[in-house]
Amino acid sequence: MSTETAAPVQMLNVQVDGVWHQFPKGTRVIEACSQAGKYVPRYCYHPKLSSPGNCRMCLVEMGMPKMTPDRKPVVGADGKPEIAWIPRPQISCAQDVAEGMGIRTDSPMAKECRQGVMEFLLINHPLDCPICDQAGECRLQEFSVEYGQGESRFLEHKVKKPKNVELGPRVTLDAERCILCTRCIRFMKEVAHDDVLGIVDRGSYNSIACHPERVLDNNYSLNTVDICPVGALTSTDFRFKMRVWFLKETKTVDVNCGTGSNITIGSRENKIYRITPRENNDVNGVWLPDSHRLNFKYVADAHRLHQPTVKGQPVEWRTAIAIAAEVLKSKPSEQIWLLASGRQTNEELFLTTRLVNALNIKKQHDILPRNGTADGLLIAADRNPNTNGAKVLGLTTSKPGGRLKKFVEGVRAGTIKVVITMGEDLTKAGLTEEDLAKLDAIIALDILPNKTTPHATVLLPASAWVEKRGSMINLKGRLQRLNRAVNAPGEAHDDWEILRDLIQAVSGSNGLYMIEDVFKSLAAEVKEFAGLNLSKIGDLGVQVIQEKTPEPEPAEAAK
Amino acid sequence: MTITLFHYLFVSGLLFAIGLAGVMLRRNIIIIFMCLELMLNAANLSLVAFSRFNLVNGLPNYNAQVLVFFIITVAAAEVAVGLAIIVALYRARQTTHVEDINSLKF
């Protein structure tokens, strides 16, 4: 990688705990220590934010090369420069490495400093870990175990501060637990550009608060909860719901917009409790908008479709598939239209193309465009997570939704008699409910009832995005992987299985038994996926489309 | 209606026909083997029937029964050897289907 860079970054020699390393110029000392395998505890420092150096947790011993009177470094017996140690500890988060610098992260002094800082930080801390939501992922807990001392020597009364304060609609503050690292303040100022938080009162009574007459209602407010190293800021939504150590963490990708932010789903016993961002510096950094993060409740909706129905009557899967195939085979291909979805995974889209081929309905398919406004940070204007996948697999044109007008006309004119929809509400594609009633048959895959489902001849319950495995291509052309966090309810099947069965019923065997097989066929047929498989995609994804695809114009598409 | 030699011989013939059909229809070597046993037993039935039919001094003709005894003995030995061969064959070819065992050497 570095061979291609035009101006090679200058490398500096730095000694970390007695071992000499090389770091590029501009590396923070705290990062250099981490790279050397010596983790330095920190509270206020965050790699994506500025460094105020106010928690004092990252104190280390530091030193510069010893100089002879003629400003030459003194070389020791081992041929390396000798170091003149600074008598007082230094914070490692606010300083860059320098040539010949020496760092001691585990010297007696550094250890003692951390112990002292820990003790001070805990003076007014309520120590209510059994109640606190942060317990289990709390830096205060972790570092007091690793670097603190076992017992409290504090005998006075602790300072009482406001508890259970609603900073905003989604964030609750417990000021007693706060260690005043100011990460949240800096995040709101530097990343969200919504400078709403600050510190009020003096001395021991310092506490975080919103500016008067303002609330913390920014769409990125929940990121402050993520970066809060202690339990001071907690998510109102997740508050007291479940202890974090019970949560099964599933690495997957957000599907609320074309960005495809990397996320981790925390679930327990088939129930999702929270969604947190996952670091991927090529996509979303470490942030995630609140709107995306909280949009998972519908998955556990009581109205989820859980049994295949034919004209409203519950039937067995086999029957439903057979009837759907019967309907499709009974009509000439000109009368069939397929509405795919930008929310389908690549595998499902691929099988959809196979269905299209099996039914021979060339050009009678498209996806439903979903447009909003971009917020300039992480929310893209295209709210379909996999528009690029649909384009690559040829289910839509370069202008998604371009064929819908013709489709609506066709339905109204009566030339289109059968519609297959892959989880999309047909009324959103321009049809009215009267138009739907006019159709001979609708075959719908969906997860929740909508305006189309009551009209569906065959309704096949599918899986939501947290319930399936697969892959999607985001707007920047990055192929990323979805993983299953929970199981689909009732008899609902994976979409690809439904499609596989449908294709089988329409055209005969195709021998796919696992999602890996589907990807294998996909990789064999589509050049973008050549040489890949689901495990090769990895947690962080792979770039498959190099050229930047133009985003659809919001003004024109939002009709 | 009394039961005569005819009935026994006919049942014996039926059994033999079933065994014969089985040998021709089925392609699983073990089933074929079982059908062979069925045919042997059909023969046994007619032997015993004749033995009962042709009394010697008021007793069945025990020569026939001794022959049946021999047949059963030889059949048992044959089954043991045959099944050992089938197991060896299966180990070598992973099949008991006669159509899959079509090479002279393996």
Binding site: P126, L127, D128, C129, P130, I131, A135, F154, L155, E156, H157, K158, K163, N164, R239, F240, K241, M242, R243, W245, F246 | -
Partner: protein, 176 residues
Amino acid sequence: MAYVVPRPNLTWKEKIYLPSIVAGLAITIKHLKRMLKGETKVVMQYPEEKWDAHMPEHYRGAPTLVKDEHDRERCVACQLCEFICPPRAITITPEEIPAESKFAKVEKRPKEFEIDMIRCIYCGLCEEVCPEQAIFLRKDYAITGTTRAEMKHDKAKLYELGGVMKGLVHKWNPKK
């Protein structure tokens, strides 16, 4: 590396085995005879004889929840017992204590606390792990029921079994 157990070299007499078999039979019949004569001391006949009076202080019976002398729930639904429980007998649903409650300082309490006594193995880990000293193994050991539902102790039942336990608890300590 496999360890080869050395086999003893048996004499011809030992190889017949019959003498040793007879010797074994003699031993077993001797036990039977002694039992029949009533010479062998046998175990306690449970429902008639009980050892309740001699139960040691550390006896681990059914796990229960306790309140303090001011009728305050000690449990804050931290779910550590649920986590530690080897047979996963404990299920806790936490809830926030409403602000108007006089115990609102503690913020959190169990909405539902269930111990499935069919699963419970009386190991006492829940008692050991509890940071609030809210769960105790009491001396009830004959937990029976006629349905599975009956054997699932809910919060009310657990407090009923547990009763009151005096003493200071961390969360009420103004210094902490």
